[in-house]
């Protein structure tokens, strides 16, 4: 008797959840190429846009993209203003205490140092290293003993190296590599730091059903190689 009752309750719940998730709202930052950025047409674009659209197709849900400031991206998820986060967010134990993650859809992306060209002999231990406020790289530099200087946006960290305020920037390699490629005045150091895990899609911990759907979709993209194609196309870390 009890189990039947539970069964109907569960059914009823699925019904409401399905209603709630006719449209899945995908939260992103829109300021972190190649993961996500706003293109010339003013729309969300990038690796995660393309991946997310494909995942939604496979999970058979309609998706809508919304941008949100990085600082409040998790509080807005847990209070229900959107349903997922795809914003180049590494899976970390601290974040996992608050939100749920799908399996990772990128390999752990190494972080690298960007310095002025000709400055490759720099002693990182005694250097001034710039990082964006509140990133895992900022925490890493603070622990390493080098002098940390924090800026509000990734742009400003690169500018800080160019104008001599900092000796190096520490940020995700996939973010810094295009910057170094396109200008002669800055370059990447050989040395990489492995901080943070792979990037995953963040969801509310109570949204287990949606999580399973997207987990299955990511798995299917890993299996048929389409995820690797995207990773290569957008030059994000190593393929699976």
């Amino acid at each position: 008797m009890k189990s039947i009752l539970l069964g109907t309750a569960a059914l009823a719940m699925t019904a409401t959840v399905a209603l709630a998730q006719d449209t899945v709202r995908m939260g992103t930052e829109g300021a972190y190429p190649p993961y996500n950025f706003i293109n010339d047409a003013g729309e969300v674009d990038g690796f995660e846009r393309e991946l997310g659209d494909e995942l939604c197709k496979r999970a058979e849900v309609t998706c809508e993209w919304v941008t949100n400031d990085w600082d409040s991206i998790i509080p807005n998820l847990v209070s229900g203003n959107y349903d997922t986060i795809m914003a180049g967010m590494s899976i970390t134990p601290e974040r996992e205490e608050v939100i749920g993650f799908t399996q990772n859809y990128t390999q752990p992306d190494p972080s690298s140092y960007l310095v002025l060209s000709g400055n490759e002999g720099i002693d990182l231990g005694g250097a001034v290293i710039a990082a964006q406020t509140g990133t895992i790289q900022a925490a890493f530099v603070a622990e390493s003993g080098a002098t940390l200087v924090e800026y509000a946006t990734p742009d400003e960290t690169v500018a800080a190296v160019r104008n001599g305020e900092a000796d190096a920037v520490l940020a995700d390699k996939s973010y810094l590599a295009p910057v170094a490629d396109e200008s002669d005045d800055v370059m990447l150091l050989e040395q990489d730091e492995m901080i943070g895990g792979g990037v995953g899609m963040g969801l509310r911990q109570s949204d287990t059903e949606l999580k399973e759907k997207f987990d299955a979709a990511i798995q299917s993209m890993k299996d048929d190689g389409s995820l690797n194609e995207l990773l290569v196309k957008w030059e994000i870390g190593a393929p699976f």
């Binding site: 409040s72 998790i74 847990v78 608050v98 710039a130 406020t133 924090e150 400003e156 104008n163 305020e165």
Partner: protein, 269 residues
């Protein structure tokens, strides 16, 4: 770790004394209150420095704006207009940009890109412009009789200004000036938020509140703590300015001594 130890470790963290590393996990309420309080040191520093230095420039700007000499008047008008007419957000951006370029010219300008000097300079100019407008309004409201009486007693030029006009102007401007001081302390939270970089995780109260909100993903604890500190600070400012106001008006007969009553005409900003 007891709360006293936390205070010993982090109480002066914002100026680089104490533990080198910020807490990483198991955040306690005590840590949040201590570190955010430690950051308040910067807000108080910026507020006091800008207020004290800005006071003098504001007097000069007010006199300049009331001046009969056209270039002087125009200059004062423009300084007041530009600094009152644009968001502090944008002023910080341009100031930082300018200071960086100056740094390229000569190493004498190096300290300008640090918050302690650069941001203090911007806040000084900003508050001087707002206060200058308040003082200007007050200057025009100085009763004609006061000035005529001063003339009759043989005062003129600088002594007349210093002994007669200036004190009356201050008395008239004081309630609005109190408001400006409150706004100024609030504005100090923008320094590390948008203007200047934070070195070695030494920031103001908002910087640490942001740090905790970012690490705990819960904005409902650190920001109200920050709000609490600022309400206390505002009460102190209002109290202190009230005392000065009393002193400014001490010569008046008791029933004419105005309480800190607002004069809406002068409520500037």
């Amino acid at each position: 770790m007891s709360c006293w130890e936390t205070i010993a470790d982090y109480g002066l963290r914002s100026i680089g004394i104490g533990e080198r590393l910020l807490p990483r996990d198991n955040f306690t309420l005590c840590q949040q209150v201590t570190l955010i309080g430690s950051g308040m040191l910067w807000n108080i520093y910026f507020g006091i420095v800008a207020l004290v230095t800005g006071f003098f420039l504001a007097t000069a700007l007010a006199v300049g704006k009331a001046s009969k000499i056209t270039p002087v008047r125009k200059l004062a008008e423009w300084v007041i207009f530009v600094f009152r007419g644009s968001p502090l957000f944008i002023q910080f951006f341009f100031a930082y940009f300018l200071f960086l370029s100056l740094k390229g010219v000569s190493s004498a300008f190096d300290p300008l890109t640090s918050a302690w000097l650069g941001a203090a300079l911007v806040l000084f100019l900003n508050t001087a412009a707002y206060t200058g407008e308040i003082f200007y309004g007050a200057l025009l409201s100085v009763p004609k009789g006061d000035v005529e009486a001063a003339d009759a007693y043989g005062f003129s030029g600088w002594p007349r200004f210093k002994k007669i006009v200036w004190p009356t102007m201050l008395r008239l401007a004081w309630p609005a000036y109190t408001n400006e001081a409150i706004f100024l302390f609030h504005a100090t939270t923008l320094v590390f938020f948008s203007g200047f970089p934070a070195w070695q995780q030494r920031g103001d109260a908002l910087y640490y509140a942001n740090y905790f909100a970012d690490k705990t993903f819960n904005p409902f604890v650190p920001y109200p703590i920050l709000a609490g500190y600022f309400i206390l600070l505002t009460l102190c400012v209002v109290g202190l300015f009230g005392l000065i106001n009393k002193r400014l008006n001490r010569h008046l007969p008791k029933e004419r001594r105005q309480k800190m009553r607002m004069r809406p005409r002068l409520l500037m900003r």
